[in-house]
């Protein structure tokens, strides 16, 4: 009997806590539980709030996690509409666009971020993905080299640099770039494979 009373007590307490939690808390809790759709629905009540653009961005992210890319593009697009200055929303929309291989549209938004913030790392990283998708190897090589200069410890830009050189047939340059990747991540699978002659 006592045990039931204890359980009942906790149920009441937890219910009471949940009843008091904000839409944001509920959304974060549901996301942590992997319930992305419910986490997004929890933010419906924030439409008119001062953080409406943030809510839309977050819903865009939650839709992206569910593989609902068109819905994600729509949410991020609405977030940009509410706050055209938002660099995060523009970086955010590149995620579902890249997933749909809409390279040029993703590059367009990345360029808009870069116009505002010249060396925004996320925007440059997404732009490199778009350039690779479009097989613009010369453009990618030049771009990745510039990013690598600005972020010397970063291996990602060097990987794109190496891939671009490899596609351009510049084997020695590709090996040099992959060698620099291995200086930063000694177990990097792609770089190790290429250096071993198994690209």
């Amino acid at each position: 009997m006592k045990a039931w009373l204890v359980v009942l007590f906790f149920v009441v307490v937890v219910s009471s806590v949940w009843a008091d939690e904000s839409s944001w808390q509920k959304s974060y809790r549901l996301e942590t539980a992997g319930k992305y759709a419910e986490a997004s629905t929890a933010l419906e009540s924030t439409n008119g709030s001062v953080d409406a653009d943030f809510a839309l961005m977050r819903r865009g992210w939650l839709s992206y996690l569910q593989g609902r890319y068109n819905e994600s593009v729509d949410f991020y697009g609405r977030a940009i509409g509410k706050n055209p200055k938002s660099l995060e929303a523009r970086n955010g929309i590149t995620l579902p666009l890249l997933a749909q291989q809409r390279w040029r549209e993703a590059a367009f938004h990345a360029h808009q971020v870069i116009t505002e913030s010249a060396w925004d790392y996320t925007a440059h990283q997404r732009l490199m993905v778009a350039e690779e998708g479009q097989r613009e190897w010369k453009t990618l090589a030049e771009h990745a080299a510039r990013v690598a200069d600005r972020y010397p410890s970063d291996a990602t830009a060097l990987v794109y640099l190496a891939r671009a050189y490899a596609w351009l047939g510049e084997i020695n340059a590709a090996k040099r770039a992959y060698g620099r990747v291995l200086s930063r991540i000694p177990v990097h699978i792609e770089a190790t494979s290429y250096m071993a002659g198994k690209p």
Binding site: G67, Y69, E71, Q100, Q101, R102, R104, E105, F108
Partner: protein, 299 residues
Amino acid sequence: MKRTYAIVTLTAATLTAALAVPAWAAGEWTTTAGAQVVYGSYGSSTQRDQVTGYGAVLSSDYLERGGFTLGLNRTDIKMNAGYEDIGQNALFASGKLNFTPDGVAGRLTGRMDVHVINNDDATNDTDGVKAYAPQVAYLSFDKRRYFDLGYARSIYRNDLDVNQFTPTVGFALNEGADWLQVRGWLIDPSNVARAQGESSTTALEAKLTHWFGANKPLGLDNVRLSALVGKRIYAVDPDAGAVANLSDVQRGGVSLGGEWKLGKSMSVLAILSRDNYNNATLADDYSLTSGYIWVAGKW
């Protein structure tokens, strides 16, 4: 009936009315403009001597959402003595919209082509031609598989309509270094008397494209080999943006082409072709050997 074939060509136009786009801004549109010339010589033809043509095409895409193409082309067929030459103008307009539904691992494209052709054919049989050609296409995200289903309805004067279906598959080979496209041509003219006795024609066309890697022989970016077997008449070609509105029956053909990329924005395409034709009315089998050059810039 005056026989003729038309190499007509391309180009086209399209509209894309429904591109739901936000404000226009630099970088959102990718535009290609090009010019083309063609010269062909007929072999063993009772009526035909040679064909020349030239034209221009403007094509523009809005990001990956859609785009349009507009083209104008002039074709002149010089006939042998005793037959009247034919001069023809063709307008081509094409619009497309792309879709990426979440449940489909690739891109769907809806496209609509319109052809309007006028010439000085005294019989009016091949003059005033209009063709409407919708198409739905699928391209997988990894760009290794392609499918489209095209339909065309061509409307001619003097009691002739033509229905055409062109199911097409394409797939990548050799890690994407090669692309093979196979297209079926199923064409049904409504009036046998206007189609040299053909109530329907069937043909199969295969096109193989090979891209060179870093080592480019003669500077070539890619080479293209194409072959057609079977028969086709009054074909509406969605790749070339052309209508074969002059009425002889094509019986096979081959072509070989190469493309050069000049810098980041210019390209040159050259194609040599040999096609065989038959005029059933005159029991005339003949060939056409032609050369085609296309120069384009992209920005």
